[in-house]
Symmetry: C2
Subunit: 257 residues, 2 copies
DNA sequence: AACTGCTTTCGACATTATCGAATAATGGCC
DNA sequence: GGCCATTATTCGATAATGTCGAAAGCAGTT
């Protein structure tokens, strides 16, 4: 790990949490001398990754990140391939659908279809949720023990009263996910919102994303037709990506990565 | 400029252009030994800024960028304040509206309102356009000579047959923008698409963003009411941000930044 | 108007990233 | 399906590089 890149990433991460920070604030967070931080920040600024907020002496995240993330989304063929199917799934089920990928122990939403009746409008692309608190995340965890193992060994943060916070409980749930090829959550991330999710694999057979159907908890649990539509969509997308089988296999444990 | 951060940013930028690249490709682009590039890439990967595309040995941009950019958008108070007004402007004019900020010699779209009649649907947030080829960009250039000067001294890329490519011509246009408090472009970025734009200033009086009305070239030039609605929106947003006057003043030339 | 806190600059030092060579892994080809 | 060429990755010595303390420049405040 290159030290200055590690520090630069920590700076971005800090600005992500606090929005606006001065050099001194950052120096305190990273436990480094201000002059060191200044050099790092200025370098990031020259590439547009951070920006000085006009009028003040504080810094914030920069516009180059937006450009990069836009390209990132275009780069994902899962997303391009899945869009047809998530739209179809939203139509058939009458629910909002999401597509998510893993970002360490979180899920990040890379595509979103509104509920066809148009009830909620919030754009959710880019939103991140702790993986253990959502159906999307449980799918991704279930198929990647390299991420799940450390989580199960530690503490699980609670988002609502219903969040799974017992590591042993989570482990059981993850095993069930692999068995059934689907995960579920009821009010675990947002009160009043529940969802079910299924894995999407690519040519190499690895799980690269998850697809979910989101519904008001009042409509939970959904009927078998919804579950079947979901699994069908996941299977179709996986097939288009060249996956050899579905449901996919759990990824092997690696020493480190 | 810290060398390793500079190199890391160049790697991100390369992946932005080429989508998928192996270590050797990157090494060739940066003109560095593969082992050096490998260390940089691996460090970026550990922070999710770069990801190994599953199944291959190549790398692509990582999901952390999406999370960061999402926060970036939330961080911009211009955006939050302007959203009401761009929606209102779209309604009044019957045209699509955009909000853009500067990213070096480009404009990046940070907010977008569809045409009320719902004709086009493409999400444009995060799209970047060379500044000299669009009304939004001309506004930003006109009020920031530090960016405009080097552009006027160099070559201007042509996007359509109508793009302003003569630096002297651009200089004249920019002077007019400051005079009139508005910029325009006719087919310069996309054929069949024209727009007019106005500057948005903040508390410090600096121009921090530009707002534009986009219309089919068949409807260009727009009537005075559209221009007035645009200027009114720009003035209102600037006032909400605490700008002391409108139209704003041109930023001073700095030695370097 | 003077102060206090912050940001920013500068240069010597030693930590740190770099790079070449060797090894391991991959993918393509017959 | 097995071989070979290409590519990714590891490792350790070298010196180039980033780091950090002290001091100067700026703002905002009392």
């Amino acid at each position: 790990m290159i030290q200055s890149i590690d520090r630069a990433a920590k700076i971005l991460s800090s600005l992500q949490g606090a929005r606006h920070l001065g050099i001194t604030d950052l120096a305190a967070i990273l436990e480094l001398p201000p002059s060191t931080v200044h050099g790092l920040v200025k370098s990031l600024q020259e590439h547009g990754l951070v920006a000085k907020e006009p009028g003040t002496t504080r810094y914030m995240l920069g516009p180059a990140l937006l450009k990069l993330s836009n390209v990132y989304l275009d780069t994902l063929d899962v997303r391009a391939r899945a869009m047809r199917w998530t739209a179809e799934l939203a139509r058939r089920t009458g629910c909002a659908t999401r597509l998510g990928v893993a970002l360490f122990d979180e899920v990040i939403v890379i595509h979103h279809n509104r509920r066809p009746d148009g009830s909620e409008q919030m754009p959710e692309i880019g939103v991140t949720i702790p993986a253990h608190a959502t159906a999307l995340g449980k799918v991704l965890l279930a198929y990647d023990p390299n991420v799940a193992d450390p989580l199960i060994a530690g503490e699980l943060r609670s988002l609502t009263g219903a969040t799974t916070t017992d590591p042993a409980d989570l482990a059981v749930q993850l095993a069930q996910v692999v068995e059934r090829g689907a995960a579920h959550d009821e009010d675990e991330a947002v009160l009043g919102e529940s969802s079910i999710a299924a894995p999407i694999a690519d040519r190499s057979g690895q799980v690269v994303a998850a697809i979910s159907v989101v519904m008001p908890t009042s409509e939970y649990p959904p009927g078998d037709t919804v579950l079947n539509d979901l699994r069908e969509a996941a299977r179709n997308i996986s097939r288009e990506l060249g996956a050899p089988s579905w449901p996919p296999a759990v990824a092997p444990r690696r020493a480190d990565d």
